[in-house]
Every structure is written in C-alpha cells, then in structure tokens.
C-alpha cells in the first residue's frame, strides 16, 4: 500500500478533518486535536500535515467564508476525499486485525 502510508500525526489530522465534517480549517482542526488529545499542538505542524495530505490526495480544500475573529480573513476548508476515507478505513482495518491477533490470556 505504498503511497498512502500515513504517519501517526497525519492520521490524527485526517481524523480531525473527518470529525469536523465540513467545518474543518486550520484553527478548528488545531483546537479539535488539542481537545481530543489533551496536548498543545503547533499550527505549523497541522498545516504541514494538511499540506502533505492534500498532496497525497487524501484531502481537498477550498477557500471559504470569513469571521470577525479572523480579522476578516478567509478560511480554507478541508474535506476528506474518497481516497482519504479509504485510507482511514484501511488503517482501521489493519489495526483491528492486529488487535484481534493479540493472543487472549486464557
């Protein structure tokens, strides 16, 4: 499955975009991850991951609305593509298979 390999942080970002379903942009993704994981996250790291994921074709983006909080600056909304959904499914399946393979203590 070369080419769709996902790093741990990329997976988290991709999941966050999926969770935010339609309202995913830099700031919202960052806060979502911070809440979910309970740790502070670099905006740069998030954007770098978003950029890579988009290059890999797992995310797509479009420029959208602005809010007063942002000083009127537009947001770039991210959505998970088909390939992205597939990649997430894939990972989940592998994880599940591996979890199932752990021998149960008798």
């Amino acid at each position: 499955m070369k080419g769709t390999y996902l790093g741990e942080f990329e997976e988290v970002v991709l999941l966050a975009v999926a969770i935010l379903a339609g309202d995913a942009y830099g700031a919202s993704i960052t806060s979502e991850i911070e809440q979910q994981m309970g740790r502070s996250v670099n905006l740069g790291a998030v954007h770098a991951a978003l950029h890579r994921l988009e290059e890999k074709g797992l995310l797509s983006s479009r420029l959208g609305g602005a809010t007063a909080e942002r000083g009127g600056r537009s947001k770039r909304f991210f959505t998970v593509t088909m390939a992205g959904t597939k990649a997430l499914d894939n990972i989940r399946e592998i994880r599940n298979r591996m979890w199932n393979a752990i021998p149960k203590p008798a």
């Binding site: 806060s31 670099n42 740069g44 420029l63 942002r70 600056r73």
Partner: protein
C-alpha cells in the same frame, strides 16, 4: 478602555516576510482565531507565547515563498531573457549612433591607453628577469675618486674579473663583456658590426642565453670563436648551417670559426648583441697584455655569486684586494677606487652608473598614474554620458513600469546595455591596440611588444577589465533610472534633482585641469626642443658629414683625396666629434698657483685641420700648426672652461703653462672659445685637445661646399672604395648625429603630445555628458525663454557660461602646477628657454575653444529646438 488584546505585531510581520503570498491570508486568519480562543481559555500571555511559537512553527518549506507567482518574473540568468536584453540594447545603440559612437570611442581610448601602458610598464619592470640566476648576478662598477671629484663607471678593468675569482671562493663565475665595433666579411658581404660583443667563455654560465646549436661550455673558449644570433646568422649565411663556417674579422681578415647559434636575446636585457666573439681573441691575440693592465678600464664585468653568498660581505673585502693588487698604481695616479656590486635586476631602473640602456622609475610611475587616471576618467565619462542619455528615455521607463516591469527588470536592461557597450569598446580597443603597438614601439624606441597575439594574458585581463567596467558603470544609470516614478514621468512632471551634479562638475574640472596642464607641458617641451636645435653651439655643424671607421694608414691618403674633390671644402680627422663619446684622460696641468693640478679631463684627439674646420675660435695663443714639429708630442690646446678650472682669470694667462697627460709632457699652446661638445643639458666642461697619434682618430669629418650633396657623396664613396676596398661605406650628417642626444626628449615630447590629445578628447566627452545632462534639465526653461523672445545666440551663451567657468577654474588650478612641473623638467638642461606667458595664454584659449565647441554641440541644438515641443507637456 477595553481595548482588544493584540498578538505580537513583529511575529505577524515575520510571517508576512517569509510566507508565500497566497498562503498568508488563511494562515494569518488561523493564527488570529486561535489567538482569540487562547486569550479566552489560557490568558493573554500564554496566547501570545503560543502565537509566536506557531509563527515559528510555520517556517516550513511548504509555507515559504517558493511557489511561482501568478505572473512569474524570469530569472536574470535565463538565456532567452539575456538575449532579449542585448537585442534591445543593440537596437538602442543603433538608434543613437552618434551617442553610442562617442561613448564607445571614449571608453576604447581609455582601455587602449591602459593596455599599451600596461605593456610598457611590464616590459620595463621585467628587464633582465629572464635570467634564472638574476638574483645572484652582480655588475662590478667602479667609482674613481680624484681631487676633481668622483667618476661613476659601469665598467671595470680587465684583470679584475679573473683575480677576484681567484681570491674569493664565493664567486662562482665571472664573465667580462665588451661591446666593440668589428668589421666582418664573408665573400662579398661586409658589415661593420656595431653590436659585436667580446665575451668570456663563461657567458653562458652566467646568463641564460640559449644556444640553438653548439656547446655553451666551449663555444667561446678558443680565440676567434664566434657565436651568431639567429638574426646575424641569417644575414651572413641565409638558411645554410653556419656551424664550422668561417667569417673574416677585422682589417687583417683573421679567420674566425662559427661555433654556435644563439636564439636572439630578449630585447629587455642589458646584454644585447648581434655577434659574440670569444674574449680570448682579444686577450691572447689582439692585446696579449690586457689581463695585466690594471688601469685599463675597458670592460663590463659580471660576477655570479654562489648561492647564499653575501654581496655586502664580499664588497667589504674589496679595499684590501685593491690594495694588494693595485695599491702602487692608485697611489702613483693619486686616485682611489671603490668597487661596487650592483644586483642585475636593479641595474636597468635604479643604477646611477651610466650605461647604454637605462630606464626611469619616475617614468613608470608617471605612466601608471596617467593610465589609471585615463581609465577612471573614461569610466566616469561613460557613466555620465550613459546617465545623461538615458534621461531622454525616462518616458520609456515610465511606460514600462506602468505596464508592470519591476525595478530590477529595468535595471538589468540598462546594465545589459552598458555591458554591451563596454564589450564593443573592448573589441575596438583590441583593434586599436593591435594597430598602435608598432607605433608605440617606435615612439618608445624599443620593441615593447611584438604584436597583440603575443600578449594573450594581457588581452584576457583586458577583457575581464572591460566587462567589469561595463557592469560597474551600468549600475549607476540603472539605479537612477529604475527609481523614476512612472506617474510623474508620464505626467511629464519629472525633474531630475541635481544630485551628483557637484561631483560631476568637480570631475570635469579635474579632467580639464589635467588636459590644460598637459597642453602647457607639450608647448614648453616643444619650445625647449626648438631652442636646443636653434641654439648656437659654438661650432659649425651644418654641411658636415662624418665618415666613421677610417682607420689605418689609408686614412691620410683618403683625406687628401677628398680635399681635392669638387664640392668638398675641407676634411679633418679626429677621434671624437661633438655629440658623440670622447676619451677622458688623467691630466696634470699647471694652475694659477703654479701647482700641477690633477684631474680627469675630457679629451679630443684631432689633426691639424680639425679646429679650423669646426670653426672653433682661438681666443689666446694659437692652434696646432704644421710649422711646429713639436706640436704632435708636446702641445696641448684647452678650452676656456679648462682655463677657468685652473684658476686663470683670462685665457692668455694659460698659454705656455706646463701639462702632463697620457705620456705626453709639454706646454699649452692655445685656448679655444667654449663650444657645446656635449648636449645642451650640460654646461660646457673643461676640454683638452691634442694631436692624434697614429692609432687614434678614425672619424673623418668632411665639410661640404656646393649644393650638390648627392653627387658629392657618391664621389666620396668612390674614393672610399679605392682606399678601403674591403670595407662598407657609411656616413652620417653631424647635425642629425648631434640632435640624436635629444632622442629621449623628442620621445618625451611625442608621448606628451599624445597624452595631451587623449586627455583633451576624454575631457571633452566628460563635458559633453555634463552639457547634455544639464541641457535636458533646462529644456523647459529654454522653451520659456524662447517664447519670451530670447535669441538663439543668447541661449547658447547662457548654457555655455557655466561650463566655461569650470574650464576657467581648471586653468587656474592647472597653470601653476604645470609651471612647477615644467620648471623642474627644464632644470635638467643647462641651457633652457624661458617659460613664456604666451604659452599660458595660448593654452587657455585653446582649451576654452575646444570646450566651447564641445558645449555648442548640445547648446545650439537646444537653442534651435522648437519651444512648442519642450513646452507641450505643461
């Protein structure tokens, strides 16, 4: 009161500088949104901290300004674009032919002058440098001290070399060379070779002279061995192999064998010669005793010291050596001798000892400074002219900027134009240099370069240099023009502020000051040379032909035959003629206090006819006369300067006083009026005349009478052939021969003239640049004045006035400097012209005229321009 909490602005600015423009917006939005959230949840301090941290975390490749913009700017180093720059540059040059021509020529002149001077300086500095052992070679020079002062001789006596080597082990080798005039014959070919060098067999051990054929160790060992240069080998033997062939030497026709062929020695060497003949020829055949003649100073001795030997330590041992070998001789002659070791590489430029070749460090400095000056001024002109010219292109700049050309894009265009111009200048100066090298060789009297194809390293440097000039000179106009604001330019409201005007004016003043100084210098050199040529020398030099090398007993018969020729007034034999070298003799003459005064005095050996033929005036006593049998052994004639030296108040007092000189003793029989037997650089020195013995006096001076010079000369040649069938006939005119002493001054004059013209041309270019610059600035003013009814002439006057002021200022600076410099030059002459006021007036008028002509070029055009054109934009 409740002002919104702001994130750190510097961080935002930082983000904007590094971040790609299309990302800035949403990244900043994210940052601000997170900041606002964090202010609420974490407090302002932590929010700010995180804000900064996030900005830094965004310094990542994806966010950097690497993405192409919507309308990408091409990189400078892009072949297509560069081709385009040069294409446009070339079109611009072609469009303004006059301007381009002037600009390119100005720079070419500067580069060419620099190139030629660089060749000259390199040539002068590399004298004798071809010798690998040059640092160990020393010339043995002699200071001869007597009561009359010290004589500096670059020569030494024959026995010194061999005896020094025997006594001092630190001397690896010595070689003696003596330049002579020898007659050589081979079949019908006969030449008086003036560049014949007698040389010890060790010549090739000391100097790096390359033998093409023959063994350097033995080539000059046996008597009558001859080594020819390639040049002389061709002369006598054509393409045949000369090794082992014979040449006949001297009047007796002794057979000499060719033992070697030498590569023509480098021109910039102390040791020049066409034919080298073994020293043993002289020491074992012609003058067997010469190696014992300690007092015979007739050869140049070079010593090769062993590696590590100390020349100073060696020269400290010389006084004891001289005492050992020459003590008695020196004592008897009442003189002392100091031997001086001169390092070979320093001889040419630094030696105070007279030599046939000597250079001048002052000249090298002068030329280097002039070259640097010319180049710098040419570059400044280049910049000024380019800037002035391109101001006319301000509108083009405005349009291009409005259409979207960036500042650097425009700057590149101007730099490309300037580089193209300097490249064309380079090509021109290459052609110019190639054409001028022969002229320059002639001007300097030396083969400084055999042609441009031999100077590739210099050409490379020239190319690199001119490219650099183009690049650097392109920067200023590029910066000025690319800074113009399109809105103003297109509105027609732009006015160049006067920045840099003072500097430009200053430079033009300096240029003109130097030009005027050079003009004054040229005029003074010219008047001085004229003065020298027309000065009364005290002897008759017109219509006098000198036939050299009339030696042997035939000369008297020849002289008698010539005196009978139609068209010959008289003939006289002597050992020296004015303007040429003469012997000096150690003399003792009774002075006014009755003592025998000892001095080394110039000496002319003459025959009975010499004094009357040369028109020398006897002011006391009498001249030599055949009526007195004792005259040939006991008589001396002196000049007035000699009488003065001896302390006599009048010439009459000197007559009948005793003398002793060169084995002759007797009385002074007469005193002649002083005449300039040396150049007019010197005061007339004390001189003695004596009748020549049968060995001396082979110069035959013939005074022509009629107008038919050509026929008389051919009749003389006929006579020569009957008396000397084996010798080539040659002659020279005395006036030309005498004037040869001023050859260096004539060269100086020519160089001065050339540099003056060049400086004037370059200065005018500078003035042209400045004039057109300011004319453009005042276009509108001129238009208004014309509309108000000003005449074209008044406008030309208005525009010229300012510049003529600069020229006036330049004159005020230049005149005293030129006066000081030229007075110093004139001090080198004992007889000199006065620096006339007219020279300064003429120089001022000339420079003002040239300057005015230059300015009119621009100002007349401006004055005649239709004011409608210049005022239309208002």
């Amino acid at each position: 009161m409740n002002a919104p909490i702001q994130p750190p602005q510097w961080a935002t600015r930082l983000l904007r500088t590094f971040c790609a423009s299309q990302l800035v917006d949403d990244l900043e939005g994210d940052l601000l949104e997170l900041f606002a959230q964090r202010v609420r949840s974490l407090g302002p301090r932590e929010a700010r901290r995180r804000y900064v941290r996030d900005v830094f975390s965004l310094i990542r490749p994806f966010a950097m300004k690497e993405k192409p913009e919507k309308y990408p700017q091409p990189a400078f180093i892009q072949p297509a674009m560069i081709r385009n720059y040069f294409k446009i540059a070339f079109r611009n040059l072609a469009k303004h032919k006059m301007f381009s021509f002037i600009n390119i020529m100005g720079l070419s002149a500067g580069i060419t002058a620099c190139f030629l001077i660089a060749l000259y300086v390199h040539f002068e500095l590399s004298y004798d440098a071809f010798n690998k052992k040059a640092d160990r070679i020393y010339r043995l020079s002699s200071d001869i001290n007597s009561s009359a002062g010290t004589l500096h001789y670059s020569i030494s006596s024959w026995p010194l070399g061999p005896n020094l080597q025997t006594d001092f082990p630190e001397i690896e080798a010595f070689t003696r060379v003596s330049k002579e005039k020898y007659l050589f014959r081979k079949g019908d070919l006969k030449f008086n070779e003036e560049q014949t060098v007698l040389a010890d067999s060790t010549l090739f051990r000391v100097f790096d002279l390359e033998l093409l054929h023959g063994n350097p160790a033995t080539a000059l060992t046996a008597p009558f061995s001859v080594v020819l240069t390639e040049r002389s080998a061709r002369k006598y033997f054509g393409n045949a192999n000369p090794i082992g062939q014979t040449l006949l030497v001297g009047d007796n026709g002794d057979a000499a064998q060719v033992t070697g062929i030498m590569k023509d020695p480098p021109v910039n060497s102390q040791l020049t010669g066409d034919i080298f003949i073994s020293m043993t020829t002289h020491t074992r055949h012609y003058n067997k005793a010469v190696n014992e003649e300690w007092g015979n100073f007739g050869t140049t001795t070079y010593l090769l010291l062993k590696p590590g030997a100390n020349a100073n330590a060696l020269s400290r041992k010389f006084p004891a050596f001289l005492q050992r070998h020459m003590g008695r001789l020196l004592q008897a002659e009442k003189i002392s001798l100091t031997l001086v070791l001169e390092p070979l590489p320093e001889i040419y430029l630094h030696s105070k000892y007279e030599a046939e070749q000597s250079g001048s460090m002052a000249n090298i400095y002068t030329f280097t400074v002039i070259a640097a000056f010319i180049l710098v001024i040419a570059c400044i002109n280049f910049v000024n002219l380019t800037t002035a010219r391109s101001l006319e292109r301000a509108r083009e700049v405005g349009v291009r900027k409005a259409v979207g050309a960036g500042r650097w894009l425009l700057a590149r265009q101007f730099i490309a134009e300037s580089v193209l111009m300097s490249f064309l200048s380079f090509i021109f100066s290459l052609i110019l240099s190639a054409a001028l090298i022969p002229l320059f060789n002639e001007l300097s009297g030396k083969t400084i370069s055999r042609g441009i194809e031999y100077e590739l390293p210099f050409v490379g440097a020239l190319f690199a240099g001119s490219m650099l000039i183009g690049l650097v000179s392109g920067i200023y106009p590029a910066v000025v023009l690319s800074s113009l604001e399109p809105v103003k330019v297109l509105k027609g409201k732009f006015a160049m502020t006067g920045h840099g005007t003072l500097l430009r004016k200053g430079l033009v003043t300096v240029q003109f000051a130097i030009s005027i100084a050079l003009i004054i210098g040229t005029m003074i050199v010219y008047t001085q040379l004229n003065f020298l040529r027309s000065h009364d020398l005290g002897f008759a030099k017109d219509r006098m032909v000198v036939i050299p090398s009339a030696s042997g007993p035939e000369r008297n018969a020849l002289k008698a035959a010539l005196q009978n020729l139609n068209g010959v007034q008289s003939a006289a034999l002597s050992a020296s003629v004015p303007g040429g070298p003469n012997s000096q003799a150690h003399s003792r003459i009774e002075n006014s206090e009755g003592e025998m005064q000892v001095a080394t005095i110039d000496m002319y050996q003459v025959d009975f006819d010499f004094i009357p033929q040369y028109g020398l005036k006897v002011v006391a006593g009498r001249s030599f006369s055949k009526d007195f049998a004792t005259d040939s052994t006991k008589a001396l004639v002196i000049n007035e300067a000699m009488a003065k030296l001896l302390g006599y108040r009048s010439p009459e007092e000197a007559v009948n006083k005793k003398f002793s000189q060169w084995e002759r003793q007797g009385t002074i029989i007469g005193v002649v009026k002083d005449f300039n037997f040396k150049s007019l650089r010197e005061q007339v020195k004390p001189l003695t005349f004596r009748l020549a013995d049968r060995w001396n006096g082979d110069l035959l001076s013939v005074k022509l009478a009629g107008n038919d010079v050509r026929n008389t000369l051919s009749a003389i040649e006929q006579q020569w052939k009957t008396h000397y069938p084996d010798r080539p006939f040659s002659y020279y005119f005395l006036d030309e021969f005498y004037d040869r002493q001023y050859r260096a001054d004539v060269r100086f004059q020519r160089l001065f003239t050339n540099f003056a013209v060049l400086a004037i041309v370059i200065s005018c270019l500078g003035l042209l640049g400045l004039a057109s610059y300011s004319t453009i600035q005042r276009t509108k003013e001129i238009g208004v004045r014309k509309v108000m009814g000003a005449s074209a002439a008044s406008i030309v006057g208005l525009l010229s006035k300012d510049f003529l002021k600069l020229v006036g200022l330049a004159f005020v600076v230049a005149a005293p400097l030129a006066w000081i410099g030229m007075s110093r030059w004139l001090e080198g002459f004992a007889y000199k012209t006065d620096i006339g006021l007219w020279i300064f007036v003429a120089a001022a008028l000339l420079s003002a005229m040239v300057a005015f002509a230059t300015i009119s070029f621009q100002s007349i055009r401006a004055a005649l321009m239709n004011p409608v054109k210049s005022l239309r934009n208002e």
